[in-house]
């Protein structure tokens, strides 16, 4: 009975997400996979950001803990967990406690509907996109609560800034999203969809990424969204709520230890979440690049080799780093560790060459690869741009992005009527 319940979902004919199939066991498995995966990515992201930022700024970044500082995130996590958790005097303890949890809850709820593949989502809601926007807008509550509960001026100003900022940019974001949703309705029935999987399938059906649909309308909408999503996640150059040179650390000034790390986790998870929205809406979701231009068996095979090649590349990089290690005892241990890592990467690459695995991970691989590009962009912005001032931020949101978003929406509708 129970094994049947488990295996029934694996039946090839089902082809729906576990949430839709109503299969609680597989839904749980997916939830664990997604949450574990996201947490792992956030940890890696922590290391990568420091490393990439450091190399952009002609320094080395973490180098001490493990080879090339690879174990630094673990050391950081340990430190944060063991650190004293300070609650400032006069703080509203209950609100102070719940604020980071709300942020985390909001961000992770978004992952419920993110489609990593046609069936690789926890569930598929028919209001998926709406759900995503709604839930991610709850994150601002956590920030506001954190800032207010700290009973301190800097967090309060940070909270005020972020509430105004997020509410403003949500408008532009929403308009950009709607124009993409409009594009989904260009089918025989004339009805669009808000389902995340449905949106990608619409792109599949129309044989184009929405980025290139009605060029340049899709592109403009995407750019509006891409700017707004940086503002939504409070990253540079829109990191005013936590502007370190002005507000020390903004809304999480008074937080420390584990609770502070929850904020960080929330921030990075939110970056991944909004990147996924952008990818789903405009960049074809799980589709591989040029799915309709470069068709045929040969191309399919070539693209399906990418996951394995990526891991071989990582392994090669690690081996190269091993070769560059100094030949002294201290580094010998690290070199062995790094070589082990390279071997693991190589092994994963080999496994990915197997035919069933190769086809199975295709969707997930391309989705994650697109996310990686976005995350790199986030880091790049941070190294390049100065910070906006509050009034300029509002000006950009209301006077630039909002009219552009509206215009794109109207033009998309017109274009849809004419060409659709």
């Amino acid at each position: 009975m129970i094994p049947d319940y488990i295996t029934s979902y694996l039946d090839k004919s089902v082809r729906v997400t576990p949430g839709e199939a109503g299969n609680i066991f597989w839904a749980l498995v997916y939830i664990l996979c997604v949450f574990g995966g996201v947490s792992l990515v956030v940890v890696c992201m922590n290391w990568l950001e420091r490393k990439i930022l450091a190399h952009m700024q002609i320094r080395l970044g973490p180098m001490r803990v493990g080879p090339h500082g690879l174990l630094q995130p673990i050391a950081d996590a340990l430190k944060l967990i063991l650190k004293e958790d300070i609650i400032p005097e006069g703080a509203d303890v209950l609100v102070f406690w719940t604020a980071p949890l709300i942020i985390l809850l909001a961000v992770f709820s978004v992952y419920c509907v993110i489609p990593f593949g046609p069936t690789h989502a926890i569930t598929d809601m028919n209001i998926g996109l709406l759900f995503m926007l709604g839930v991610s807008s709850l994150g601002v509550l956590g920030i506001v609560m954190a800032g207010w509960a700290s009973n301190s001026h800097y967090p309060l100003i940070g909270a005020l800034r972020s509430s105004a900022q997020m509410v403003s940019y949500e408008v532009a974001m929403g308009l950009a999203v709607v124009s993409a949703v409009l594009m989904t309705s260009l089918n025989a029935q004339g009805t669009g969809t808000l389902s995340m999987i449905g949106i990608v399938q619409a792109q599949q059906a129309q044989q184009t990424w929405f980025l290139f649909k009605f060029f340049p309308l899709g592109l403009v909408a995407f750019v509006v969204f891409a700017i707004a999503m940086v503002a939504e996640t409070n990253r540079a150059p829109f990191d005013l709520p936590e502007a370190e040179s002005e507000l020390t650390a903004g809304f999480h000034t008074e937080y420390s230890g584990l609770r502070w790390s929850l904020f960080m986790l929330g921030e990075y998870a939110a970056m991944i979440a909004v990147s996924s929205i952008a990818i789903t809406l405009w960049l074809g979701g799980w589709m591989r690049p040029f799915p309709h231009l470069l068709t045929g068996q040969a191309w399919d095979l070539a693209f399906s080799l990418f996951p394995a090649l990526t891991f071989f590349g990582l392994a090669g990089l690690a081996f190269y780093a091993v070769g560059k290690m100094w030949a002294i005892l201290y580094f010998r241990v690290q070199a062995i560790g790094l070589a082990g890592l390279a071997a693991v990467f190589g092994l994963i690459g080999l496994i990915l060459l197997l035919r069933p695995v190769r086809t199975g991970v295709q969707d997930i691989y391309w989705f994650v690869a697109k996310i990686a590009v976005f995350l790199y962009l986030f880091i790049w912005y941070r190294a390049t741009f100065p910070r906006y001032r509050f009034d300029q931020l509002m000006k950009v949101g209301w006077k630039v992005l909002l009219p552009i978003g509206l215009g794109v929406l109207v033009l998309t509708a017109i274009a849809g009527v004419i060409f659709g």
């Binding site: 930022l53 952009m56 700024q57 002609i58 320094r59 001026h153 800097y154 309060l156 100003i157 005020l160 800034r161 540079a236 150059p237 990191d239 005013l240 502007a243 370190e244 040179s245 002005e246 507000l247 020390t248 941070r382 190294a383 390049t384 741009f385 100065p386 910070r387 906006y388 001032r389 509050f390 009034d391 300029q392």
Partner: protein, 384 residues
């Protein structure tokens, strides 16, 4: 001491002023420990939302009584102390002090000493501006320039280290000239630096000058007119950015500056962006001066004839130089003994900081940070 409003009187905290939504104004204590106050400056801000209604600086956290120490040291013994005031431009401080005492003693440094002084002082000006640029950009949120400027500042510090053994508090000059002859390859090192640094300034400018966010953050921020500058005694790049073409190196030349050909960059609007441009141009002018000085470095002795024990005749002297931050003056009174009767330092940072209130009025909190950065203060010099 823990009350944020302690020591504040001219901000009337109980006054009812009309604020947005009639909300109560916010009193914020920025500093003395704050990432953007460049040391231990404490600024008490009165805010309406994000708008600054008034502010007051509380200084003195780094007060070490330099002027009192001077009265208890001989002239030569006090020389290293001046390096500790504006510690990012220690060479300039030393130059001002040595020249003041030389004037009081009625001796003149040899031409070679003067040229070496000019080279080192101008190198120090570049180093000071680099530090300013890095921290200022960091305050405004651009992280990367900081690392670029520190990389290039390192080259200057290496020259200092090779010349006199110290990197920061150099104590490079002695009363009467320079203690050290230049090391072998000094000229080549300086030339190499100039060749190395010229493209680097372009690199900084590439990151910032046409960056839209940078321009938006600095244009029309902290505007101060030339008239206000003079009334408030503000000197240095801040004054020049407000359109007043006044530089002590030209107006009342000291050391060997008369012999060099250089320009005084001036701004037009007196905002933070102009001050940025002026300082960038000043770095280029400094390079020009250094190149001329290195090319024309005369030979000869490096120390003038000064007695072993310095006993200036009774009298007083005011001598000022153009430090990277503005007019740095020394007023020295001698009573004929081996110790000065009084040494008064006219610190540019201290006087310039007074303009903060005027420049920040009705601006936003983020602008206060930008203005503190653009004033280029060093708290060691403000508090002495």
């Amino acid at each position: 001491m823990n009350d944020p409003t302690s020591g504040v009187s001219h901000l009337d905290f109980d006054a009812k002023e009309s604020t947005f939504l009639d909300a109560s104004e916010l009193i914020i204590n920025m500093g003395p420990q704050h990432p953007a106050t460049h040391g231990v400056l404490r600024v008490i801000l009165k805010l309406d939302g994000e708008k600054v209604m008034g502010l007051e600086c509380v200084i003195g956290y780094l007060h070490r009584g330099v002027e009192k120490i001077a009265e208890n040291r001989t002239y030569a013994m006090f020389n290293p102390y001046v390096d500790r005031m504006d510690y990012v431009a220690a060479v300039s401080n030393g130059l001002g002090y040595c020249e003041a005492v030389e004037k009081l003693l009625n001796v003149e440094a040899s031409p070679r000493a003067k040229y070496i002084r000019v080279i080192l002082t101008e190198l120090n000006r570049i180093a000071s501006h680099q530090l300013w640029l890095g921290t200022h950009a960091l305050d405004i949120g651009a992280m990367t320039p900081l690392f670029y400027t520190f990389r290039d500042r390192e080259e200057i510090l290496k020259i200092f280290e090779k010349y006199c053994g110290a990197r920061l508090t150099t104590h490079a000059f002695r009363i009467g000239g320079c203690q050290y002859e230049t090391y072998d390859g000094f000229e080549q090192d300086v030339r190499n630096f100039l060749d190395f640094f010229a493209p680097k300034i372009d690199e900084y400018e590439e990151l910032l000058t046409t960056n839209r966010i940078w321009v938006q953050r600095t244009r029309d921020v902290g505007v101060i007119s030339g008239k206000d500058c003079i009334a408030l005694g503000v000197t240095g790049p801040v004054l020049r950015a407000s359109g007043v073409k006044w530089d002590l190196r030209k107006a009342q030349p000291y050391a060997a500056y008369k012999e060099f050909d250089f320009e005084i960059p001036v701004g037009t609007k007196g905002d933070t962006y102009d001050r940025y441009l002026v300082r960038m141009a000043e770095m280029r002018q400094s390079m020009r001066i250094i190149r001329q000085a290195v090319d024309g470095l005369p030979s000869g002795p490096i120390m003038a004839k000064v007695p072993k024990v310095l006993k200036p005749p009774v009298g007083e002297i005011y001598h000022s130089i153009e430090a990277p931050k503005g007019e740095l003056g020394y007023f020295i009174v001698s009573d004929g003994s081996t110790q000065p009767y009084r040494v008064r330092v006219r610190p540019p940072s201290f006087v310039n900081l007074q303009a903060l209130d005027l420049m920040c009025k009705d601006q936003l909190v983020a602008d206060v940070i930008a203005v503190i950065g653009t004033l280029d203060i060093v708290l060691g010099e403000v508090d002495r």
